[in-house]
C-alpha cells in the first residue's frame, strides 16, 4: 500500500511567473491532488494550470507570396496547448499566404481543432 502511494506521487519545483517575485514553488502531485507550497493564492492557481493544462501564445512567421517582405508575422488568438506546439509549428510551416495581409486579420481558423485562430501581426503590402 505504502509503496504504491510512493509511486504515484511526484515532486516538482516550478517557478511562478505571475508577478516579478518569481517564487520557487514546490508541488506535490498525487493521483488526483496537487499541493503547492511556497507562494500565494495566485501562484497556486498558476501552478495548477501549468501542470494540468499548460498553454502558450505562439508567435511565428509564415511564407508570403508577392509581399514586400518574404515573411508575415502571426500569433495565436489565445494561448495554445503547449504540448501540441510542435505539431502546430509543423502545420504552419506548410502554409503559404498571398500578399497583401493586414494586421488583425484571421489567417487560419480553429488550429488543430483547438478552437484557437491565427492572426496577422504586421501589415505586409503587395510588391508592385
Amino acid at each position: 500500500m505504502k509503496l504504491k502511494e510512493q509511486k504515484s506521487r511526484e515532486f516538482l519545483e516550478l517557478i511562478c511567473i505571475v508577478c516579478p517575485l518569481g517564487c520557487s514553488l514546490s508541488v506535490t502531485k498525487s493521483d488526483d491532488r496537487i499541493r503547492v507550497r511556497g507562494g500565494c493564492k495566485k501562484g497556486e492557481k498558476y501552478v495548477k494550470e501549468e501542470i494540468t493544462n499548460p498553454r502558450r501564445v505562439v508567435t511565428t512567421t509564415l511564407r508570403i507570396k508577392n509581399g514586400v517582405w518574404p515573411r508575415v508575422p502571426v500569433r495565436t488568438s489565445s494561448p495554445f496547448p503547449r504540448d501540441k506546439i510542435p505539431e502546430l509549428m509543423k502545420f504552419l510551416s506548410s502554409l503559404e499566404v498571398e500578399a497583401p495581409q493586414k494586421r488583425g486579420e484571421v489567417i487560419a481558423k480553429n488550429l488543430l481543432g483547438e478552437g484557437v485562430d491565427l492572426v496577422v501581426t504586421r501589415t505586409i503590402e503587395r510588391k508592385e
Binding site: I15, P20, L21, T61, P70, R71, R82, I85, R103, R122
Partner: protein
Amino acid sequence: MPRSIRGDVVVIGGGPAGMAAALSSWEAGAKSVFLLERNEYLGGILPQCIHPGFGLQIWGEELTGPEYAEIFIENLNRTGVEAMTDTAALELTPERIVKAVNPQGAWEIKANSIILSMGCRERTRGMLQIPGYRPAGIFTAGLAQYLVNIAGYLPGKDIVILGSGDIGLIMARRLTLEGARVKMVVEIKNSLSGLVRNYVQCIQDFNIPLLFSHTVTEVRGKERVEAVVISEVDEEGNPLSGGEREVECDTLLLSVGLIPENELSRQAKIPLSPQTGGPWVDEDFSTDLEGFFACGNVASVFDLVDYVTLVAERAGRAAVLARPPQEKHILRAGEGVHTVIPQRIREGKDGFLFIRPQKSMKGVTVSFWEREKIFYQKKISICRPSEMIKLDLAQIPWPQEKGEIKVEIKGTEIQGIS
C-alpha cells in the same frame, strides 16, 4: 547643393522613442515636425520582435512588437508629421543643424529643437575579444532575430548562445521552434540577465541547458564555426583552468548587452554620462545642451518599450515648450545602483525615475541621500538587473536647495534564477 529646410522639431531615429516623441511634439502644437529614419520602415527594433510582451504597462494588453509599432505608425499618418524613411542623419552641429541623405539627395535641416532617438547597438565579438579565426556563423542575437523574422533565413542548425539577456532567451525559443538545436545558453555571471518569465517560457519549456558562471573562451573552425570551447569562470569572470570543454556547433549567438548609439551626440558636443553611455538628461529628457533632447535607448538602455514611450512623450512635449536652462539636482548612482535616469532633476514635480540595480536582491531599500542625510526611502520586495525600478518623481520630497543627490540600493543578494 543640399536642400535647406527649417523645422520646429527634428527627431532623429524612427523607433518607438522617435515615433512617440514626434507624435507628442505635434500634439503639443509644433507646426513642422520631421522624423528621420535610416531604415526603409518605421518602428526601430520592434518589427523584428514578433513575440508578445509589449504594451502591458500602457494598454493593459500584451501586443507583439510589430503590432505595437503599427499602432504608432497609423497614429503618425493621421498627423502632419513628415516621416522620412530611408533617410540617415550623418552630421549634427551644436547649432542644431542636421545633415542627412536619402535617395532624393542631401538635406540640411535647421531646427528649434532636436530630439535624439537613435536607439542602441549590440555589443559584438570584437568587444569581447574571444580568440580564434573569424569564421562565418557568429551573429549578434538581434541580427539573428532580423534574419529569422524579417528576412526569413535560418542562421544555423546547431546553436550556442552566449549571454542570458532577453534577446538571447527569446532567440533560443524562436530558433528551436524553427527546427534548429539550441545546445546551450552560457552565462558568465552567476545569475540570470533576462526576465524570469523568458527563462521559464524560452529555456525551461524546451529543456535547453543554461550554464551559469561559464563563458566561451575560444571559437573553433576556419571557414565556418565548428565548435566553441566553454570554461567555468571564477567570481571575477576569469576562466578557471582545467574546466574547459568543447561543444560542437555551427553557430554562436551573442546576447551580451547593448550600447547607446551616440556618434551624432558626440559630434554636437552633448555631454555624455559614462554610466549610461547616453547624454545626461533631466525629467523632460532635455540634455545639458540647450535645444537638444534624448529619449529611449539612446539615453539609457530600457528593457520595456512601454517606458520608452512614456519618456519619449515627455521629450516631445518639452521640445515644443523649450523651457530655459535652470539649476538642477544632480543624481549619482551609489552602492548597488547600476544606472539612474534621469540624472538631473529640474523640479521633480512630475515624471519618472528609473533605477537599474546592479544585482538581484530581496528585501530591498532604495535610499536617497543629500550630503550625509537620507531624505527619502522606499522599500520594495525584490529587484533584478533585468528590470528597472520605476518611481514617480512626485513621491519624492526633493530638497529645496539644488545639489548632489546619491541613490543607493541595499538588500539580500539572490543567485541563480530565484
